[in-house]
């Protein structure tokens, strides 16, 4: 029994959350530093996981398994495959930046009493989210996964509903109302999804007799456990619905713009870059692995929905007046790409989707955090309130531009690799869908460049004329992200090496081969 | 023969049951449907006494006595006291205020009763052995033996319950003075501020020939003033209006004068 590395990776932020919450009201700054240090330590642990993980080795590594609820065969089972490792690394990487970016977002208003401790709460909640997300990436027991999948909602709910933009912090009644609306919407959508999934989880238990992902998957693979076609399909739908809400897939997406629009930028990053990834990740790990036949059965519909998400999200992004909502709809479009790649059932598509999860996390984080800095300066989320920022704050504008370019997946930046892989992977099996999806890249260029043009270029508006450029803290947040974007865009090999084996496993789960190119087929 | 006796009771008891039972039911109905609380209380008392008789008939001598003493003697008296304290209120009227409540209630009652009877009907109550040997050593002794052995804990608990109830009753009824009593002056000022009825209420009773409490004082125009009599009497409709007494007296006077004049006419003739 070696050192439980995975448990430690998740336990550290969990304990950190408790410690941070316990910091007395007066020692606000201490709480911030504590949270930051904990998240950095978690990052170190994640790196250790990354190093200890052997791409060529078993499918699930660093496994841990303890009996938990013996009566129902629920076990505390952890294990990571390449995809899980990549996403854990992403999460652990982003959280410190989120914390740094939100450094002042939760400073208490002077109006409140001195015993009021929002700062501690804010950072504790972020760490709690990190812990749960990491655990849900690690859990190989369906029930265990379900628990964290749901528990994640609680801290997220408070983060969305409790902390607004400095622009209209709590004082503004209307903003507060919208915020609570967004938070409740987020909670309800995901709860409904989760409950349906719970039913499916129980159904799975009834059918399979235990919750262990590996055992069930093996049983499915070697035919000892065969489900009736309809049972499998129903269970699949139950799982998929929850993940599609989380992901979010059209038409279950409407909670995302509200949530991202109302939450502070760091929390928005937390939502779209970290929490939503659990949905797509779970599609890849649970849907495909547990219900391969049903997955194949549902593929056409899902692909069409994903396609709609891509185009529809992009078009709506063009139509937005609110910077954060625009990014949100852009994310919806990108999640469409991810889901499309997963269900294209080609190794290019799935590798692309996995890379896309990571790259989208980084690029959206970069764009959204810079947008957050912008908003915090001007105190408004409306695009129309900006103009000519590039003149007064060139560095801010430059980073914003790079973020935008990453969002429109310019070659040389990380998202391009993944997007192109997804497109190619889809195209080889479903040419029409692939071609239509390609329109997404034009629309992406449209909304990002329109956003940049309206906010950054043109004559300098008087309101922004005194806008300060990025401060050191903000540079510390943005620079590494951009560096990472460029590095992964030019040299994604380290990532693909980790991901590829896992993808091959998944492909073998669904018993799909890549379509052979015709020339070779002819030979 | 014996087992037949085991299944039936003596004719006398049957007679008693049918007569008193009827009365008991009537009493119960009266309890429910009498307008005034006092009457309900009395009817209930009657029903209880009859029940006491039934207890005795069923060989529960101790309970019968207790029923008379505790219930009819103590509890019902308590009820009467409270009725006296509260007096007559608008709540007394049998008019229903909640829509459909009465019909619902009657329906439920009817259905409930029928179901209950049905339940008793198809319950297998065939075994019937009187309290012969149970009461052999005396009913009270039997009870005592059981209470102090088998049911001693329940007994202790009920004791505790009684004490608690007593304390609770005291707590509830004892009015805690939160603010200091208003002085005469403050009361006066309050009255002036409210502006209604500055002087003290008018006294009841013109002419001291009656028990003046229940006679409204007359206003200058001869009509009775509501203010002069207490609310409870008014609601009970026990106020006597004497506003026409003066007229009656006048009539009597004239009559007598006529009689006298008439007699004098006869004398002069």
């Amino acid at each position: 029994m070696s050192f439980p590395l995975l448990t430690a990776t998740a336990a550290l932020p969990a304990l950190g959350a408790i410690a941070t919450a316990a910091v007395p009201a007066a020692r606000r700054t201490a709480a911030k530093w504590l949270a930051l240090l904990v998240s950095l330590a978690t990052l170190v642990l994640a790196v250790v996981v990354l190093v200890r993980f052997e791409p060529g080795g078993d499918r699930y590594q660093l496994t841990e398994s303890h009996a938990w609820i013996a009566d129902f065969g629920v076990r505390y089972e952890l294990g990571v495959d390449g995809i899980g490792v990549a996403l854990i690394a992403l999460t652990a990487l982003l959280i410190p930046f989120v914390i740094l970016a939100g450094w002042h977002d939760a400073d208490p208003l002077e109006t409140r009493s001195s015993r009021w401790r929002p700062t501690q709460g804010f950072f504790a909640l972020i760490l709690a989210v990190e812990a749960m997300v990491i655990l849900s990436f690690e859990a190989t027991d369906v029930f265990l996964f379900y628990i964290f999948f749901e528990a994640m909602l609680i801290p997220m709910y408070f983060l969305i509903g409790g902390f607004g933009d400095r622009a209209h912090a709590g004082t503004d009644e209307k903003a507060a109302a919208q915020r609570s609306y967004a938070a409740v919407k987020f909670l309800l959508y995901n709860l409904v999804g989760g409950l349906i999934m719970l039913a499916a989880v129980i159904g799975l238990y009834v059918v399979a007799g235990n919750f262990s992902l590996q055992e069930i998957a093996e049983a499915r693979a070697n035919g000892t456990l065969d489900m009736a076609t309809n049972t499998e399909r129903w269970l699949f739908l139950g799982f998929f619905f929850a993940f599609a809400v989380k992901a979010p897939l059209w038409p279950l997406h409407t909670w995302l713009p509200n949530a991202m629009g109302e939450a502070t930028a760091p929390v928005a990053v937390l939502i779209t870059a970290v929490v939503d990834k659990v949905g797509t990740f779970a599609m890849l790990r649970f849907c495909l692995q547990l219900f391969p036949e049903a997955s194949k059965w549902a593929t056409p519909v899902i692909l069409v929905l994903a396609l709609i998400s891509i185009v529809y999200g992009a078009l709506l992004a063009v139509g937005q007046r609110d910077i954060k909502r625009l990014v949100a709809y852009a994310s919806i479009s990108h999640f469409g790409f991810i889901i499309m790649g997963i269900f294209a059932m080609t190794s290019q598509g799935q590798s692309g989707a996995t890379l896309y999860m990571v790259n989208h996390g980084i690029s959206t984080a970069a764009l959204m955090l810079v947008a957050g800095f912008l908003i915090s300066r001007r105190g408004s989320r409306l695009i129309a309130d900006y103009g000519g920022v590039q003149k007064v704050a060139p560095v801010l504008a430059g980073t914003f531009l790079i973020g935008s370019l990453a969002t429109l997946s310019l070659p040389g930046l990380a998202p391009f690799v993944s997007e192109f892989l997804v497109l190619v992977g889809t195209f080889t099996r479903y040419p029409v869908i692939g071609i239509i999806a390609t329109f997404g890249i034009v629309l992406a260029a449209l909304y990002t460049l329109v956003l940049y043009q309206r906010t950054m270029t043109g004559p300098v508006k008087p309101e922004v004329s005194a806008m300060p450029d990025l401060r050191v803290r903000e540079l510390v947040v943005v620079t590494p992200l951009i560096a990472l974007l460029i590095f992964l865009g030019v040299f994604p090999k380290p990532l693909t090496d980790i991901v590829n084996p896992a993808v091959e496993h998944t492909m073998s789960d669904v018993q799909k081969q890549d379509p052979k190119p015709e020339v070779e087929a002819a030979k | 023969m014996t087992d037949l006796a085991a299944y039936t009771t003596s004719a006398g008891e049957a007679f008693q049951f049918w007569v008193l039972g009827t009365i008991a039911v009537i009493g119960a109905l009266c309890t429910v449907f009498m307008k005034k609380a006092v009457h309900s209380a009395l009817c209930l008392a009657g029903t209880m006494i009859i029940l006491a008789v039934f207890y005795l008939a069923n060989g529960a001598y101790f309970l019968g006595i207790v029923q008379v003493v505790v219930y009819t003697g103590a509890i019902m008296m308590l009820f009467l006291f409270v009725v006296m304290l509260v007096g007559v209120t608008a709540a007394d009227s049998l008019k229903e205020t909640i829509k459909g409540q009465r019909w619902l209630a009657l329906l439920c009652g009817l259905g409930f009763g029928i179901l209950l009877c049905a339940g008793i009907g198809n319950a297998s109550l065939n075994e019937f052995n009187g309290l012969g040997q149970a009461n052999a050593g005396g009913n009270v002794e039997g009870l005592a033996a059981l209470i102090f052995t088998k049911y001693v804990f329940a007994f202790e608990l009920t004791g505790a319950l009684l004490i608690t109830a007593a304390v609770g009753a005291m707590v509830l009824t004892h009015r805690e003075r939160t603010e200091r009593a208003k002085t005469q002056r403050e009361l006066a000022e309050e009255r002036v501020r409210e502006g209604k009825q500055l002087p003290p209420l008018p006294a009841p009773g013109v002419y001291a020939r009656h028990n003046a409490v229940d006679i409204a004082g007359l206003l200058p125009d001869g009509t009775a003033s509501e203010l002069t009599v207490i609310k409870t009497l008014r609601e009970r409709g026990q106020i006597r209006d004497v506003s026409d007494e003066a007229i009656n007296d006048l009539k009597a006077l004239e009559q007598r004068a006529e009689e006298r004049l008439g007699r004098e006419e006869e004398a002069t003739k």
Binding site: - | Y7, A37, M48, N58, L85, L116
Partner: protein, 99 residues
């Protein structure tokens, strides 16, 4: 006569009491009806004890009485304080349970 009739009588009284509870508004009368119901139960218990030929039924009836006594004390106290506070003994006036 079959002593089961006692049970029928008890049932009848109980039902009457219950109905009374439902249709009367004067708290005191409602209370009386409750007493009536309790007495009906006692009658049934006594009858049962006679049928089974042991005194347990009577014991229970006895306890019922004690409890009833306690309940009456507290209940009446409540009614009195209620009357003091809102000058009425109508159970409908205490309708604050409404949303």
């Amino acid at each position: 006569m079959n002593p089961v009739n006692y049970l029928y009588l008890a049932a009848l009284l109980f039902t009457i009491g219950a109905t009374g509870v439902l249709i009367r508004r004067n708290a005191i009368v409602v209370f009386m009806c409750v007493e009536l119901m309790l007495n009906a139960c006692n009658l049934a218990l006594v009858a049962f004890s006679r049928m089974h030929g042991n005194l347990d039924g009577q014991i229970i009836a006895f306890f019922t009485m004690v409890v009833a006594a306690a309940e009456v004390v507290v209940g009446l106290a409540i009614i009195v304080s209620l009357f003091r506070s809102r000058h009425s003994a109508s159970v409908d006036d205490a309708s604050l349970m409404k949303l």
